[in-house]
Amino acid sequence: MVTLIETRPPAEQTSPAPRQPRPAHKRGAVRWVVLGIAILTGVVMASPFLVLVLTAFRTQSDYAANGPFSVPDQLTLSAFGRYLRDVDFPLALWNSVAISLLVAVIGVLISLLASYAIGVGKIRGATLVTGVLLFATMLPQEAIIYPLFHGAQALGLRDSIWSVVIIFAVLQAAFGTYLLGSVFGTFPPSLLEAARLDGANRWQVLWQVVFPVMRPTLSVLLIFFFIWTWNEFYIPVVMLTDPANQTVPIALSTLRGQLSTDITELNAGSLLSLLPTLLFFLFFQRTLTRGITAGAVK
């Protein structure tokens, strides 16, 4: 897990190097104690993952005899084999990827259009719209779940990934519009002015001026929508009951009850299920950590 994140923008690198010699109290043993506590905290935080990995590669009998902490007798993939036999993991993976990708793309598109109207178009009532959207992001899902469930059933969309795609595309777009609306409000006016002088219409301005400038922000939003949707639990668990439609996390949690006797398989399944997000995180960590902070405050 080394160098997962390294996001400090170069401009803000407050390098300690050119400072005067450190004050005496910083040279003592205290700093090692503090470092020790910080590392210990890290070990505690990471320990569930470590035990998970250890157990996933054990044999069942080894686990039964020696518990989760001993050095494994031998490393085996058999637990993974059993999980893949019990759960159609490739199908769940496909469902998760399809749902998350569709939601991310549609959600960003809706957010882009709406926040263009709010931030650049400065429509009347923009404050009201963003205010409503802000509160919508706080709405508990159980306050809409039953009508959604019922409605999806009436439309024949229940137990279809499309119900989940539509719901999350809108919910994510509500947050995205709220967030982007204010970012668009600070769009460089000179660029808009230049586009106007060129006689561009609103649609052209959006795609030829605003979109290229906003692309980095939009890609952060896209990645976040993808991960959030991937990790969603409540609505997918209610909507998608057929194993053929289940996402990676839901497939794991519905199988849990049957797996309580085979801990190694449970751990192998958990490891497989968090691998995609982990890889995604490693791949996009720079963008992500930048995005978390941008999303939170700006």
Partner: protein, 324 residues
């Protein structure tokens, strides 16, 4: 609903930039009205949020088993029933514990960890050590809650679970029944929530600390202020907006806790881990008391909105007080 900018803590510079755009209004671009660009969100929002929420409020006035069963008018009956329902009160009492586990503990620990990493370990052992530690703290945040729940249900398992295995190794046989003891189960859930949540404040506060002018710290150091003094007098006041964001989002999150309860305990044992979301889910999908569940989720929504509005109002007021 004027709160949209306060959350953002926009600087006056960017606001001035925004104002400069206003002349656009006089000579608009050619093209269809901007309202057309809002059509997708308006249609989607109406279909997915507004109408379902209105229907939810509407059904809360009925007794209804759900599906095709007949609905019978019950007026405010569901709401008065809620007031006399011990489980309702218990679920909100448990929410207070969720707030401790998601807001109070992680924010306090997160503040200390972020400050220690950023201006102590980062300076003493280099920024690289700080980033590695920060990544470790953040790791639980990216794990799907369903997966985290499954992992923790095993960690907390009485027989052969990770924690009781450790206890067994140090000689404590028959460790506690973490998820099966009504007195303990809620705290076991809190343990997982704290673990999952800490990374969020750490990462936000660390980036906030980068905003703080290092000269403030240097000046204070020359005046003989120790680390703790500087932490309290400089770091915390400077990153106040981020602390507010974390408290607001985490509080809303704590009021909505659902998946950890469903996965770890199913509300049990003896309803000791009921939370409002879980209780309404139970009413909707297991007890066939849809009207009652609707009333409960409506109450929860109103409470969340009130708490969020109070927090936002309080933040605006304190910002104004600081500026005066």
């Amino acid at each position: 609903m004027t709160s949209d900018t306060s959350l953002r803590s926009r600087g006056s510079a960017s606001r001035a930039a925004a104002d400069r755009v206003t002349p656009t209004r006089g000579r608009p671009f050619r093209g269809v009205s901007y309202w057309w660009y809002l059509t997708p969100i308006i249609v989607g929002f109406t279909a997915v949020v507004l109408v379902p929420f209105a229907v939810n409020v509407y059904t809360s006035f009925f007794q209804w088993k759900g599906g095709l069963a007949p609905m019978s008018w019950y007026g405010l009956g569901n709401y008065t029933d809620l007031l006399h329902d011990d489980l309702f009160w218990e679920s909100f009492r448990n929410t207070a514990f969720m707030i401790v586990a998601i807001v109070v503990v992680p924010t306090v620990i997160g503040l200390v960890l972020a400050a220690v990493l950023f201006d102590y370990l980062g300076r003493t052992f280099g920024p690289r050590a700080a980033s590695v530690l920060r990544a470790t703290y953040y790791l639980p945040q990216i794990v799907p809650i369903a997966v985290a729940g499954v992992v923790w249900s095993w960690i907390l398992n009485t027989q052969g679970g990770a924690i009781n295995s450790i206890l067994g190794a140090v000689g404590i046989e028959n460790g506690p029944d973490w998820l099966g003891d009504p007195k303990l189960a809620l705290f076991s859930i809190m343990l997982m929530l704290v673990w999952g949540q800490i990374g969020y404040p750490v990462i936000i506060f660390m980036s906030a600390l980068q905003r703080v002018d290092p000269e403030l710290h240097e000046a204070a150091e020359m005046d003989g202020a120790n680390w703790w003094h500087r932490f309290r007098a400089i770091s915390i006041p400077q990153i106040r907006p981020e602390v507010f964001i974390v408290v607001l989002t985490a509080t809303v999150g704590a009021l909505k806790v659902f998946a950890p309860v469903l996965i770890l305990t199913n509300g049990g044992p003896e309803s000791s881990t009921y939370v409002p979301s879980y209780y309404s889910y139970l009413n909707f999908f297991q007890l066939s008391r849809v009207g009652y569940g609707s009333a409960l989720s409506t109450v929860l929504t109103v409470i969340i909105f009130i708490i969020a509005a109070v927090l936002l109002w309080w933040q605006r007021r304190s910002v104004r007080n600081l500026e005066d």
